[in-house]
Amino acid sequence: MSALLQVQDLTVNFALRTGDLTALNGVTFALGEGERLGLVGESGAGKSVAGFAIINLIGKPGYIAGGRVLFQGEEISALPEEAIRRIRGHRISMVFQDPMMTLNPVLTIGTQMVETLQAHRNIGQSEAEAIAVDKLRQVHIPSPEKRLHQYPHEFSGGMRQRIIIAIALLNDPQLIIADEPTTALDVTIQAEIMDLFLELCRQTRMGLILITHDLAVVSETTEKIAVMYAGEIVEEGRTEDVVRRPRHPYTQGLIAALPQGDDQRGTRLNQIPGTMPTLTRIPPGCSFHPRCPHAMDVCSERAPGPLPVAYPDGGGGMAACHLYDPNLGDR
């Protein structure tokens, strides 16, 4: 599988009066063509910042302090604003959480769709409208010709999110970054939108980065998972491995904290003590060590690098945890 996206050591700082704050700390991952990756973490873990940083949408006082992003072999993190704009919404699209905030309330969806198309391609009104209708049909919006002339408030939340996805699809992107696309929606609608994403990825060989706090949603939709904690990726691997055989103590705790249904009903849930540190107070060493049940002396002294972890069937993943350091003796 050729690499669609390579993120290498990406670091994002926020410049504050009191000094720089690191929101994203050396994040590295790769995505193949047509591959689906879930970026999971709790609020403040840096998952949205990672999504924005990939397409260089970090606003002041934030800035990319290090690392690079390669898209189809081209280093897009170094491109000037003019050039990256030709990629955003064209070859890489984004879908955000709240569809009402993303759509312009005073323009019909047709206008907004035509505008998006004409920003990237030199085409006429009727041709653009034909593409828009086609994309609305692709996301299963009934009678798209009529819907084109309606305003965002005339649609339900689920329909609006479908429209957002249709807009994201307009220029046939190779990658969609979806940031909590179903968090504002009800479960039945969430299920429909996730089914839609899966269907589109399979049809068009489009890559997907799904950013969410919901491990269960990710586990149903993606092939790979990267778990984020306090601005870093702490574990990465194939979805079934991460979900069934989590290696990092944080992932283990997170999964054990979910109600598992059936025979576990009514029992106490596993809880991770404490809360995730705020960016101003990241503990030294491994940022998870104060909450970790396996913490050793070394964990408070130095941060673990990414270490390979193996699975019985020969697959492999990554965990940033001293437990998997062969030089530190047995676990």
Partner: protein, 343 residues
């Protein structure tokens, strides 16, 4: 009236045919419309609850689930007396409470407490935690001495996993999970029997959700509490409930023991809802797709409120409102299809 409820134990809370209508027509001028050349005054109303009936037995955790706008929060607030009902009755411990004067309601307010969804909005930002916790205690127990109040507050603070140091701080100094602990402490401090918890963990992160759920389950054990738990997260509901009611558009579709509901859902809406729960590691998508969208509660559909989206609706469903009927195994379902045995 046929009585589908015949619990052996005496219910703690009993709700009969509860209805709630909100007037959303606005001011006098907003209500005026021109019809057939005549100016008429018309009111627009939202039918948030339609003849809802259920019982909660002592010690139960009764959950109400449904999607946004189905009326589950309105139900919680009407039950506890925050909203006056527009029809029906609420009985608590054998006494009808929805018609009581606010003075006669007072002892019930101590016995019934509420925990809200948003711990940022439900704590007064200008009051220290001590004052937040002392206020309900002073209000309901005016004869308590300051020392007694202080001791009680400290005791509850420790029980919810807080620290005595927290008492001197203001709400903004706490994280969401800590604030929700304080909200729960505020409910527990007056030693209630019954707590309505309206989405108490929806605003929290997964690892914190587990902490708060454990706290609520511990409090139930220690104090013999009865919960009415309002939530949209079905896997959480499955975990902590004894019985579950599924709501759609202001009506109850199904009420069943948690085991039965999740193993063998009857109502087509319950089936669709359960199939949509994201499950860890579930690969195959077998979501039940519903037709269309939730209609507005301003113009309720005729007959069964769900018929427009139901895959099994027939002519009777369009015409006749289904009653919540008891099945052989005790499950209550409001569906003509289930009643006729075709589902």
């Amino acid at each position: 009236m046929n009585a589908p409820f015949s619990d052996k134990t005496k219910p703690l809370l009993s709700v009969r045919d509860l209805s709630k209508i909100f007037d959303i027509s606005g001011g006098f001028l907003d209500q005026l419309t021109l019809k057939n050349g005549r100016l008429r005054r018309e009111k627009t109303t939202v039918k948030a609850l339609n003849r809802v009936s259920f019982d909660i037995a002592p010690g139960e955790t009764f959950s109400v689930v449904g999607e946004s706008g189905c009326g589950k929060s309105t139900l919680g607030r009407t039950v506890i007396g925050l909203y006056p009902p527009d029809g029906g009755e609420v009985h608590y411990g054998g006494e009808r409470i929805d018609t009581l004067s606010s003075r006669r309601m007072l002892p019930f307010r101590r016995r019934m407490q509420m925990v809200f969804q948003d711990p940022y909005a439900s704590l007064n930002p200008r009051k220290r935690v001590a004052a937040i916790l002392e206020e309900p205690l002073r209000f309901h127990h005016p004869d308590m001495t300051a020392d007694e109040v202080g001791d009680r507050v400290k005791e509850v603070m420790e029980q919810v996993g807080g620290d005595v140091q927290w008492l001197t701080r203001l709400p903004h100094e706490f994280s969401g999970g800590q604030r929700q602990r304080i909200s729960i402490a505020r409910a527990l401090v007056v030693d209630p029997e019954f707590i309505v918890a309206d989405e108490p963990i929806s605003a929290l992160d997964v690892s914190i959700q587990a902490q708060i759920l454990n706290l609520m389950m511990d409090a139930r054990e220690q104090r013999g509490l009865t919960y009415m738990f309002i939530a949209h997260d079905l896997s959480v509901v499955e975990h902590i409930s004894t019985r579950v009611a599924v709501m759609y558009l202001g009506s109850l579709c199904e009420v069943a023991d948690v085991d039965r509901l999740f193993a063998d859902p009857r109502h087509p809406y319950t089936r669709a809802l359960l199939s949509a729960i994201p499950r860890l590691g579930k690969k195959k998508s077998d979501h039940v797709r519903l037709k269309g969208e939730v209609p507005t509660p301003i113009n309720l559909p005729t007959g069964c409120v769900f018929h427009g989206r139901c895959l099994y609706a027939d002519e009777r469903c369009v015409r006749e409102i289904p009653e919540l009927l008891k099945q052989d195994d005790g499950v209550l379902a409001a569906c003509h299809g289930v009643e006729e045995g075709r589902l």
